[in-house]
Symmetry: C2
DNA sequence: CTGAAAGCGCTTACAG
DNA sequence: CTGAAAGCGCTTACAG
């Protein structure tokens, strides 16, 4: 009953040629072997019949799917939509489809997602979920699946990654706070098994040490969430409430800090200045508008997709770590120490 | 060179049976025709070899892909991530993969996306981008592609949709403003060729008329964006600045209104109360915290996926329009008229 | 309960 | 430049 799907054979029948000719005429890579007139006729017939290729068939035959996978922790975390959009726009412009899976930062879910994507014969994978020693990297290498890390990277060498110059961001952050007269600066650190959590914490301690300032005011979190930020700063304040500024490992962390401070009757920035990281949406509209390190999320996604597409199409080149430059966005959550 | 992918034939060879037996043993729907012992052996062998099915092959044979498509305007619009996550969680729990495409509210891009998804043999489509007379609905019907509308619906009957009781939301909004003593209330209306824009504007006018209040203070936008909200309220203020409250068609619209007011030296809520719609992320943290109509985004996605999965699996039932109940979230962008 | 065969719609090496 | 054939890895109607 259904209008059966149009295949290459239907187009061939209409033109009066063999279906392999239709296949060649429709494929940009082979159409130059077909007479221009034939190409024209095939195009017209395909158009008339409303033909579009069955990608499953092409995938089965070619063992490539023109699909890219993306692994993120959670789509609802505002860090990721711009990254994904950058990936999608870049990939789709080259004829690739992308699908994404949420891992909730759970290695089991990450594993399952990889298997499902492998089953769908993805041509490559972009990973925004890697821990520093994540097993998924070995799995990809073992399966010879091209992959690019984004945002977070791993400890081992020889991978492709698009990340942020975290040291630069943290130094800019600390320079800003120091110029504002802050002497005792705290850090709510992210998970140390993530490169971002680790590098930010390391840059924080190294730079303060370099400046001969106190560098031990650090409290660690399990995850980059509002709740964890909330809990961590409460722990910190329970043991030391003489600092005047806090560098949060992420924007969500910073929001959690501000919430906790509010509960304790501490004002931001009057009592404590707070700085986030990432520059997620709407920060400028918040109360207080959050000072943060802005990372080029859309562009990071686009670059990662570009590198992956190169890999997928066999352009040989050495693994590359692209370190994007972040930018300090000064807003109202930071102010002069002791100004109030 | 490569570890060639494991197929059903490799598993069959290891067990010493025909590959069709392996296929049956691995498929939950047919495994009851296979002896339990054989099922066990096959499972073990598959596990040992690290087998996972080639979905392209299954798709080609069965003409179904266990993939669902989702059409949204833009992933970076905070309305959509929760909807998509609701769809993903529901679909993945049933073994389906989902991929999404951004249309930027452009009918051409919507068309292209549909073709690509059709080429990938999606089993069904969730559409969050429909205009009231969108041609995509006819295309889906013509191709016999099961689909469910979400958030926006179309004028024609007989479709499946998960939408919001807009009239209820607008009435709650107006009741709130009226109780605050507002007499002249304006509306920044969304595109009238979208059901949400149309229904909100209609509910606004009908309810004020019912209450014997002025209902003509309306300015229309082309899109639900910050920029359009900004422009629209400026146009409105240019011809009438005696209103004390404005109902914006969306949260982004409301933010644009507040921006424009700020530029003109008008305060929210002191001079004009503003109410949004949708309750996107972080509104409670804004300055001022935005009063809005909250819609159950995640749940809408989950329900849409549930209905679509029913359709896909041939459960016969009449088309259903699910109207979800919204909830007014009163925050700080609304206050008593003339209180300042 | 299991096997053997056909076929889904493409692509591509081989001919001519 | 075009055709004929084989095959990608599954599923499933038909046998037995």
């Amino acid at each position: 009953m259904a209008n059966r799907k149009i295949t290459i054979r239907d187009v061939a029948a209409l033109v009066g040629v063999h279906h392999s000719t239709v296949s060649r005429a429709l494929n940009p890579k082979t159409k130059d072997r077909i007479s221009p007139e034939m190409v024209r006729k095939v195009d017209k017939a395909a158009e008339k019949l409303g033909y579009f290729p069955n990608i499953a068939a092409a995938t089965l035959k070619q063992n490539r799917s023109f699909a890219l996978g993306v692994l993120i922790p959670d789509l609802m975390n505002p860090v990721f939509p711009p990254i994904i959009r950058g990936i999608q726009d870049t990939a789709e412009a080259k004829g690739y489809t992308v699908f994404t899976a949420n891992t909730d930062d759970d290695e089991k879910k990450e594993q399952d997602a990889l298997n499902i994507m492998s089953g769908r014969s993805i041509d490559g994978l972009i990973i925004a979920t890697a821990w520093r020693n994540d097993a998924i990297v070995d799995k990809c290498i073992e399966r010879e699946l091209p992959f690019v890390l984004v945002n977070r990277t791993v400890d081992r060498e020889g991978v492709n990654a698009v990340i942020v110059d975290e040291e630069f961001g943290i130094r800019a952050t600390l320079d800003h706070l120091i110029s504002l007269g802050h002497k005792r600066i705290a850090h709510i650190a992210g998970p140390q098994h993530s490169s971002t959590g680790y590098e930010r914490a390391k840059a924080f301690e190294d730079y303060l040490t370099l400046k001969n300032m106190e560098s031990g005011l650090v409290e660690h979190m399990e995850k980059f969430t509002v709740e964890e930020g909330h809990r961590a700063i409460k722990r910190l304040l329970a043991r030391d409430n003489q600092f005047t500024a806090v560098v949060a490992a992420s924007d969500l962390t910073a929001l959690g800090c501000i919430d906790a401070m509010q509960e304790l009757g501490l004002l931001c920035p009057e009592n404590i200045s707070v700085i986030g990281n990432n520059d997620i949406i709407f920060l400028a509209r918040m109360n207080p508008a959050l000072t943060t390190v802005s990372i080029p999320k859309y562009d990071m996604g686009a670059q990662a997709a570009r590198i992956l597409l190169g890999l997928v199409n066999g352009e040989p080149r050495d693994p590359v770590i692209l370190r994007m430059q972040p930018r300090l966005m000064i807003r109202n959550s930071t102010s002069r120490a002791g100004a109030f």
